[in-house]
Symmetry: D2
């Protein structure tokens, strides 16, 4: 509805109603101008109507929607199914070009803008979440693990030809390790040290700078691709501290990479990442789009030092899906800065509720709550008095309760050629440790869910034991 259309519309509809509409359209347009000009999210979120309208306008800027288009190539943006076409807002050409995620796609100006504005949005969200020194950010349409692989490949290119080891601080989550293998590199495990938890007999575990220093010296700088640490993690592990570890890496010229999968929601983590970027001791951090922005699974965000982010974007081979950028963009436009900050603040309130409820729950049953101030996302409850801890997990799942994980100390696993004892507990040492139920309070969780969780937990935990299974209980 440009000026000419509005003028013509006045011949069909009372002028002063068109005036009012024109003013509203002008405000809508000025929101878009600000977004593009200032390259940051607007304070207020947009309505679904405005978000959808914007996507449709961008769609018309792609060549497959041009009015007199005509294609004579192998890929002209044709979409056969109207169901498929509509779910992509009739966009089809993806983003990037010839293997560069940030290159403009000549056939798809609109999709290219979707990609660019999504990147603007995530960078702004990262800054809002506390990491103001982050210079650049891009949405990558692959899982966090595959994206870390790409980052590792990108870093390896600049390292000595002998470099093949990734020094990795242990975290008992499969993908965190597999991403190294998928890059064709070799992981070298750095073990964690115990860290007393808050008012519990059970420790948390974390990497120490000394361990990293020792590993670098042992392996030899010329053989190292980078150090890979993880921030967001499940209890009883604390986030690795990028500033302290980075200060070990920098003097050796070893790059530091952070797996920050769902760390944007943690004030403690974001504070430490900000410090690390401010002191320029870290190159890049990788986040999941779904865990941080509540979109369907399948994308990641690479953020950090501008040159490094750009180098990663240039390594992606092929033209990429715009689907993840589209989801993230629509979500962030709908939220605005205020909405995003509210989401983060709301999680902290829910986490407090969860912590209180679980403390009571544990106390009533003679168990302990295992928490640490550095890990403000995940916590655990000891299962000393539970006859068959593993069955609790299955029962919770059958009660449609997803997320909680039972960690016993007797699981040994082999992953990518490495053997791990007490898998799930982040540390081989089982001395004095007991099984535990590990949970997390992720972004988007609501207080009503805490109530429901406790209800289900009580039901499952306190249920009279059914006919005893033949096997002995696991502890």
């Amino acid at each position: 509805m440009d000026e000419t259309s509005l003028r013509l519309a006045r011949q069909l509809v009372t002028s002063r109603y068109v005036d009012a509409a024109e003013e509203a359209l002008r405000t809508d347009a000025s929101e878009v101008h600000s977004l593009l000009a200032q390259r940051r999210l607007r304070d207020d979120g947009m309505s679904d109507a405005l978000v959808e309208s914007l996507m449709m306008q961008l769609s018309l800027m792609d060549s497959n929607n041009f009015p007199s288009r005509c294609g004579a190539g192998e890929r002209e943006g044709r979409v056969l199914s109207s169901l498929v076409s509509r779910r992509h807002f009739h966009m089809s050409h993806g983003i990037g070009r010839s293997g560069d995620l940030l290159a403009d796609q000549p056939k798809a100006c609109g999709s290219s803008l979707v990609g660019k504005i999504a990147n603007i949005g995530v960078l702004d969200a990262i800054r809002c979440a506390g990491c103001k020194s982050c210079e650049d950010a891009i949405v990558v349409p692959m899982a966090t693990g595959m994206t870390i692989s790409l980052v590792l490949q990108s870093i390896r290119k600049a390292r000595p030809s002998t470099a093949r080891y990734v020094l990795w601080s242990r975290i008992d989550q499969k993908t965190s390790l597999k991403c190294i293998e998928a890059a064709g590199l070799t992981p070298l495990v750095m073990n964690l040290s115990p860290i007393p938890s808050e008012g519990s007999s059970q420790s948390f575990y974390g990497i120490t700078p000394a361990t990293v220093e020792e590993a670098i010296q042992r392996v030899g700088v010329e053989n190292i691709v980078c150090v890979l640490i993880t921030t967001s993690c499940f209890a009883p592990r604390i986030p690795d501290d990028p500033l302290r570890i980075g200060r070990v890496c920098v003097p050796h010229g070893v790059p530091l990479i952070v797996n920050n999968a769902y760390g944007l929601q943690s004030p403690w983590i974001m504070k430490r990442l900000q410090a690390a970027f401010e002191h320029r001791v870290v190159e890049v951090m990788v986040q999941s789009t779904d865990k941080n922005f509540l979109v369907p699974v399948g994308g990641a965000v690479v953020a950090g030092v501008e040159g490094r982010v750009r180098a990663v974007s240039e390594l992606y081979a092929g033209r990429a899906s715009a689907s993840q950028s589209l989801d993230v963009l629509m979500t962030l436009l709908g939220l605005g800065r205020r909405g995003y900050l509210n989401l983060l603040a709301s999680r902290l309130r829910v986490r407090d509720a969860m912590l209180n409820e679980l403390a009571t729950f544990a106390k009533e049953r003679g168990e302990e709550l295992i928490v640490h101030p550095h890990n403000d996302i995940s916590l655990a409850v000891t299962m000393r008095g539970v006859a068959d801890p593993k069955s609790i997990g299955g029962k919770l799942f059958r009660h449609q309760c997803t997320g909680p994980k039972v960690v016993t100390m007797d699981t040994t696993t082999e992953l990518c050629g490495v053997t791990f004892s007490a898998y799930g507990s982040h540390c081989d040492d089982v001395e004095g440790r007991c099984p535990m139920l590990v949970m997390a309070c992720g972004i988007g969780m609501e207080v009503a869910e805490v109530t429901l969780l406790l209800k289900k937990l009580r039901l499952v935990w306190d249920a009279p034991t059914l006919p005893a299974p033949v096997e002995a209980p696991t502890v």
Copy 2:
């Protein structure tokens, strides 16, 4: 994407790609300008992407989508369910105001435009279909029957206070009669006369001018609200001829109303309606939106003399749904003039195929095809040799074949206080008549469907009779 946005976009995406997009957007906009300025459909249809984008732009012009809206009334366009909101493209305020379908809705400039442009579209479609002298047309969000009721009420207001009869040329379709009752008026049936069909022993039936003349004189002009005739109809009835009947009504000052439910697709009907409007012997015709424009059931089009159409619009009490206008508008924009004319032309080809196939089918079975050149939509096949004609209808339905109707000559029905013999055959007289299977070739039907129809028809018709039912066969 206004000029400022495009300028800013050039800082994000290569200028010449934005140039290409801008040119495409300009062409899209010029299509809209032409539509609004010339008040006719464009020759070429629009892509789904453009149609959806337009709807979204119009949606932003409704006050419920205004960025800083604030409501303090009883109806502020709030929609609770996001599923519902999205299916209406976030429009919510309906069309019209205070009981006038054509009045602009102050809170909904966008929806008002949807209504207005839909009306422009249907008027243009009617003219394309052959009725160039039609002056005005509006989409009414009620069934054809209810819409005819509204038209009758509107006409009654201008008639003598004694007027309560509607002279109605018999058509054996329930709604055509019930619409008179729903208007609180009294139908007076005018019987049809036999008209020889093409090469068949079975007659067609139609109203003669003499019958109408006789009825007017018998009832008395001052007691008559109007004459109501029907064009589109099932065999063995021919369309009433609005010019010939109109020439009877005009000298008496009796208004003539045409139920043209699905007549836009018939060249014969449209030619006669054009002649009738050209000679100003008819006031208004009513069409179904679903039967003519292939949208879901529930709307009608009132078209004809400008003042009369306007009077009808002003009688609608309340604010009306925009849903029907939206469906019709999106369909017509997607078709364009060319697409609509192709649709009409395609039906004639399918009808020829159907006629040929059925002629062979009938001949093979010693039956006759019953057709008449004036009814180019519907035809019938005699069922002289069929033991239990009625069962054929049920069997076809069970074979997912909808549309065909079995007409036997032994059905008596009472409707709105009137008793009809041989109901379904349009005429009480059963002398020499036999049961028949009546079908129609409506717009949107495809040749493949004719093939499938014949296949099912053969299957059902020729099936060895199952254990004979106790009751005697119907003929």
Copy 3:
């Protein structure tokens, strides 16, 4: 996903994951069973995913979606535009048959169920809202005004042939009167009497039983179609009391009809309607779907005594749109009983906030708040000290504030042949009355909107007067 599909799925996906899914599907199905068996809304609302899935399942039960469908009629549910088809969940055949809204549509079992379940839902909602004695309810796909017209026609059929007057308690809202004209009947205005408001010098107005008694006797029972009163209304009018008025009508055998446009949200109104239905002094009440269930404009609900509701459904001429039933059904399934009751409760809280804020606002400016306990939806603020009251309305509209209406005492209007003085104030008598700003707190309004409203109101009310217009101010 029937049992066979789930069994086969177990060959593709781990059995115990399919088990969990099967259990979830079983719970979903049992919700549907309860809904159908108990014919009432479930306590908890359904997720969008479940609602959409249900609509899609119902859609497959319509013949246009049958796998080997084949049509040979004039209306086979073909939809041309995929945009249109999808927005109706691929349903197309509408509801009802041959002019009966409640008749099952043979070609559309799924759509018929949509219609039936929507009716179950609204009846249950009405009962939840307080009117437990309501026997039946149907969604009618026409505006409230047109629906009242249909009700009036239906009642007229059972009245003496001389009956043509509708005794109508004045309410200054256009459609309320036009619906009588659209039915071809004659309104007879019953004037309101002043009723002291709560702590204000300005009166409210309402109909008295004596006025109704007098009107019935004056006009004569045999000339009366019915008495039509209105409950939900803007200040300074109070809802008509159906019990007290009904007790006047019943002895005369005059039917009582209630225009309850947006009354479901008012505890006072629903209590009185319940009493009236319990004592069987009222036949039918008509509600708007959009004002009560927050769906787009265009539908109404006829509710009340079973036989009367059924008679109305049987008068609708033609096959009706399913669009309104679909919107209402999806909304009510999403809400559940609990959600609907929360919505009602939430409005009362917002209304309290609005009342408090406006009381302060009025006091600060030396004005009065005009409220009455019987009208718990609408209220007004005197505008004695405002130089140009009418301009306030326009300014609020320009500030995207819809809903508030300025009522001056000097507007004379002619509507349907009747002249009204002080139009908008519901009473001709202007003695001692002043201009006022009338507002309503409708369902769906939020506390944040009250804050925004007051902000805009202050801005507009207190703005230094712009260059004085030539005309004298209106008071």
Copy 4:
């Protein structure tokens, strides 16, 4: 709508209409049963209504849509934006688990089925397209290039530790080379040899078995990861022949990988691939989803020997997007086998039309058409007589004509550390070669587009040269 629901529905809607619907539902269900049981596409495509309904049913099988779900983890499938949720049919959990694309996702049984059935569909489509000996196929939610990288990594793991070279038959398309770099491996270019084209002075180019043999011997088997050849390609290059090349590789134990980006549509290519798989001389081929199945950009299909395909799926680090599988699945269900085969057949007809039209076009202008029977997708026209060949490409783009590429013989490019002369022509040797306009006839193209293409081509080619630019023309 299970049996209980249908039984209950019979209390609301006429039994025999429910019967008809039940039968239709049963047929729909049996289609699903066959799909799951026989693990192949059905012959007939499904309607949009059925496809959408199926997706919704699968969606309800994901834990985020479970009725009493409760999450206490870091990723519970929460989706914030209703626009985003709906476009994914409320599915959110992605596919795969812990870094295995084929592992079942415990929280998402429905999404897992989407992934599995999509894989069934593509395998069947590949077999329909001619490669019956293909054993397995998976949709990978990454670009073709990134997917080839993953395949290369997977193969490298099984090769000697010294292996780092990929022997690559030159193709002048960026991603084909970059995918080697992204895998951290080193490309070794194998040059093409001239192959006479059909009736033209200009040659096509292709790899010879001798070149591959020579390269393997030169580099040494222990240093080679694999041989990577390309089938689908632009003129003047012919598809590499997997059977002939494979017969060279197998005796050396060197794996052969095929980049078959858009080759499913080529009968010649599919015949040769079938022969190669039949003789087990090739391990895996990689295809683009968008170029072969007309879905938006962003996915690939890995197909071939079962163990190899599985090994690739197990290397993907992280949980993958389901978006590509969803698009492919909906498209293939909508097509059915028949629809897919028609699509392939239709392309051949359009290609013939294009060939004829271009032959005439070339002849009229004294140019030659360059075609080769092995490349049935792409062809070229010489540009000997064109003053400024490069400008033709830009002009076509500005006329919204995408696809055609101008190849001059004077472009030198450096890519991944390799320098290419005459880039775009697939061969350094420029002796006797002239500039050419290269085009392709891809799947989905229509005859009307050929007409439009020729119209635009004539316009651009024959336009009188505008004021000569300062620079000398390029040839």
